[in-house]
């Protein structure tokens, strides 16, 4: 039947070896690159699906962080009496929620990668890593809407004479976003890999995020724990803490300025990302057997 065709047999130079997994360091970068179109289409799918679902869809992305900023302003600043200095509490919270809400959204969707896509993963192969990466990218859409809300209130409060001033330092918010993306991707990959092995981890994700939020200066200034010797280590140990705080520093001109802390945060994020990719890559190869 088959014509012996030398060139055709190996012309593509394509050879796939399927073997039981050995070791951790087997990330197929070339394949990820070959599937780059799928990444783009997955992002587009999320974007279109969110848009089309409801008329109010995009509005929820605005309302959610806005409502939580309002509620937390009342709880932390009016009731608990924590001072936000010269910054209006609402703006103070909205600013910190920019990186935090994005982080939390990424971790929530990323950690559920295997469980939410069990059916798809059981029927077709493609590099699984594309799914969490695509949600990190498509969550930028919600982030964009949040930025718009923030800008609106920034202008509003500035017009009323609030002492806020963003200079060129505001540009630093961009590299900080890259760190947030890396960290949230790393954390969600680690959680997804753990969930694949032990289902119980899926219950842990929301609790973890809750704890993490309160351990980050989202609704209070970081001074509260840098000044307190019992808790000051937290500013160094929690990579989200300096990022959240520095968002306010660069966008509102009020807060801690500590490049060393940011450096540690970026380093920890990078390490988390690398570990996450390795753990995820190891889990993905047989994960469908236990889904």
């Amino acid at each position: 039947m088959a014509q012996p065709n030398h060139s055709a047999g190996t012309a593509t130079g394509y050879e796939i070896i399927i073997e039981p997994n050995k070791g951790w360091l087997r990330v197929n970068w070339r394949e990820l690159w070959e599937y780059r179109d799928l990444l783009f289409l997955l992002v587009r799918r999320d974007f279109l699906a969110k848009y089309k679902q409801t008329l109010l869809g995009p509005i929820w992305f605005i309302l959610q962080p806005l409502l939580s900023a309002v509620v937390m302003s009342i709880a932390f600043h009016k009731v608990a009496g924590i001072s936000t200095g010269k910054i209006p509490p609402l703006l103070f919270n909205l600013c910190a929620l920019l990186p935090w809400a994005y982080f939390s959204q990424n971790v929530t969707t990323g950690a559920a990668t295997f469980t939410a896509n069990a059916h798809l993963f059981g029927k077709v192969y493609f590099p699984r890593l594309l799914v969490p990466v695509s949600s990190v990218l498509s969550n930028l859409f919600a982030f964009g809407l949040q930025v718009a809300v923030f800008v609106f209130f920034y202008v509003w409060f500035a017009a009323q004479g609030a002492p806020i001033h963003a200079g060129w330092a505001a540009l630093l918010a961009l590299p900080l976003m890259v760190v947030v993306s890396a960290l949230s991707l790393g954390v969600s990959l680690l959680l997804a890999a753990s969930t694949a092995r032990f289902r119980d981890f899926s219950h842990l994700t929301p609790v973890l995020l809750q704890l993490w939020m309160f351990a980050s200066p989202v609704f209070y200034p970081m001074e509260l724990f840098t000044r307190n010797p019992t808790w000051s280590w937290l500013a160094w140990a929690n990579p989200m803490a300096p990022i959240v705080e520095h968002y306010r520093t660069v966008l509102l001109g009020d807060g801690v300025w500590n490049p060393a802390m940011l450096g540690v945060s970026a380093g920890v994020s990078l390490i988390t990302l690398v570990l996450g990719v390795l753990a995820f890559n190891r889990a993905e190869r047989t994960v469908v057997d236990s889904l």
């Binding site: 014509q3 493609f126 032990f198 190869r285 236990s290």
Partner: protein, 416 residues
């Protein structure tokens, strides 16, 4: 000097172990005994080997039929070949790009339009965007959904959905294509179109195709080689005819006596609307059998449980020779009522004596709404043998050619 090219697909000693139930640490430690399902002495308790030491090699351009009973390991083998999961032991070398089609419409998003889903699904199946764009018009034409291209697919009829999904998959151009029983969907005309497309893919484009199906006729028509899996091992690799014959003979033990039945728990063949309850082949006296005298009539009874009211259903039986050639088909179309209310029904078909040849046959059956959809996909259920005396061929000792052997009247006269 010509050296034979390396095989396109080479599997060496593939084994796959599954944990029974939830593979939690606790359960693994406490599982009292392994299920009898495939477990053997020396196995870790609570595990079973779904595939054991499976080896084969497939040449470029081969179209391979993968046959086996449910649970023989076909799906697992296909999942390993398509890299959805990894083998526990062994090694497979694939010398080309692979695409698998284990289900029609994987990754379709209901809220997206037909157009958007073509791109998304194509990419999920491994196509580049430029490739999809180049074939876009062809796909739309094949799927016959032109007017609804910008409608969300959740508004599509099930027929349209399946056509679109298959059309995308049919235009994949990998060197190795893996297909699982996806043809058991859509209406008969579309199935025919799909088989035609697969034939084209395999024979004109010289791709290597793995094809899992219960439709033995399709396996016979499309494949040039076949592999039979039994209890997770390769029982046979050979020509489709040889393998089909062995497959049907190996099917006898659990279905001896021309009878197969399913409990009323939703496991029978079919879907939400109707499922088979039992299929019986009987002789004149109403006794179940898998062996019939050539001269005697044979009665086939299909029992089916209707769960939801159906309009315009019909049930059909097909009798094929053991080599897979269709001898004839019969339908209850003219006797069926237009509306079937929930309940247990039977359709009884009588094959006149003296029609069939002395040889092995198998019976396939299905239910459908003509021109619209399948209710119960076409699949083979029982095999039986016709022999003894009573038809034309039994007058002669040698095997008589022909899928049937009716009595043909014959006169011989001298004219001049």
């Amino acid at each position: 000097m010509t050296v034979a090219p390396p095989p396109m697909v080479e599997a060496q000693g593939i084994s796959k172990r599954y944990y029974l139930g939830d593979p939690s640490f606790f359960q693994r430690a406490t599982s009292p005994n392994a299920s009898s399902l495939g477990a053997r002495a020396g196995d870790e308790p609570g595990t079973f080997w779904c595939l054991r030491d499976v080896s084969f090699s497939v040449k470029r351009g081969d179209v391979v039929g993968l046959l086996g009973r449910n649970g023989a390991g076909k799906s697992t083998l296909l999942k390993i070949l398509s890299r959805i999961t990894e083998p526990t032991r062994g090694r497979i070398t694939l010398r080309g790009r692979v695409a698998s089609l284990l289900e029609v419409g994987t990754g379709f998003h209901p809220d997206l339009t037909g157009r958007e889903n073509i791109y998304l699904n194509g990419a999920i199946l491994g196509m580049r965007r430029a490739e999809i764009a180049a074939k876009f018009d062809e796909i739309v034409q094949f799927a016959e959904v032109g007017a609804f291209l910008d409608t969300p697919v959740k508004r599509y009829s099930s027929g349209m959905f399946v056509r679109l999904a298959f059309a995308v998959a049919a235009h994949l151009e990998p060197e190795i294509l893996l297909i699982d029983e996806v043809l058991a969907v859509g209406d008969a005309a579309f199935q025919k179109k799909c088989l035609g497309k697969m034939d084209e893919v395999a024979h004109q484009h010289g791709r290597t195709v793995f094809f899992v199906s219960h439709n033995l006729g399709a396996v016979r028509a499309l494949c040039n080689t076949a592999i039979l899996l039994e209890h997770g091992t390769v029982a046979m690799q050979g020509t489709p005819n040889e393998v089909i014959a062995k497959y049907l003979s190996s099917a006898v033990p659990d279905e001896a006596g021309g009878y197969v039945s399913w409990p009323d728990d939703g496991t029978g063949p079919g879907g939400e609307e109707v499922r088979f309850a039992s299929i019986t082949i009987m002789d004149e006296k109403g006794e179940r059998s898998a062996f019939f005298e050539a001269g005697q009539p044979i009665t086939v009874e299909l029992r089916y449980r209707v769960q939801k009211r159906i309009r315009g259903a019909r049930f059909e039986v097909f009798v094929n020779t053991s080599e897979g050639e269709l001898a004839f088909s019969a339908t209850d179309h003219l006797k069926q009522s237009e509306l079937l209310e929930p309940g247990l029904y039977r359709s009884v078909y009588t094959i006149p004596g003296g029609l069939l040849n002395r040889r092995g046959y198998y019976l396939t059956a299905c239910g459908d709404v003509p021109g619209e959809r399948y209710l119960i996909p076409l699949r083979e259920y029982l095999s039986f043998t016709v022999g003894g005396a009573g038809n034309q061929s039994s007058l002669f000792p040698e095997p008589w050619p022909g899928v049937v052997c009716p009595r043909i009247d014959c006169r011989v006269e001298r004219i001049s």
